[in-house]
Symmetry: C2
Subunit: 75 residues, 2 copies
């Protein structure tokens, strides 16, 4: 529960972004967020808030659930 979680989510975002052939800047523009912010998010340096998560998902044309659907077990 912490950094690697954000990194995993950041990785997902990067993956989806590349799938769509978008630059960080293009994604940032679509999501109305800052390019350096997207950079930080993808590198797991940012603890994104829900509204921004949804903005990013929308910019990527995917469900927000896809972005946080990482292997998190409730062991």
């Amino acid at each position: 529960m912490s950094d690697h979680l954000l990194a995993a989510i950041g990785g997902k975002i990067k993956e989806k972004r590349l799938n769509k052939n978008l630059s960080q800047e293009a994604l940032a523009s679509r999501a109305e967020l800052d390019r350096t912010y997207i950079s930080g998010v993808e590198r797991g340096k940012r603890n994104v808030s829900l509204l921004n998560l949804f903005k990013i998902a929308q910019a990527l044309e995917i469900q927000a659930t896809e972005l946080i659907d990482i292997g998190v077990t409730n062991d």
Copy 2:
């Protein structure tokens, strides 16, 4: 994309909490958050960050995806 989204997620949290017969205070305790914070989240007054979302999901013994899996279409 905004308040009603947070309210919808808050509603989900409340629903899951009640399913588990937990009080806000009990949930807050499990998630190591403040009771009034949980109250605000459930009422959609708080734009929760990812880490806290995961804390809450873990406290509810569910996947975080379940909490944000509301009817959001990419129309």
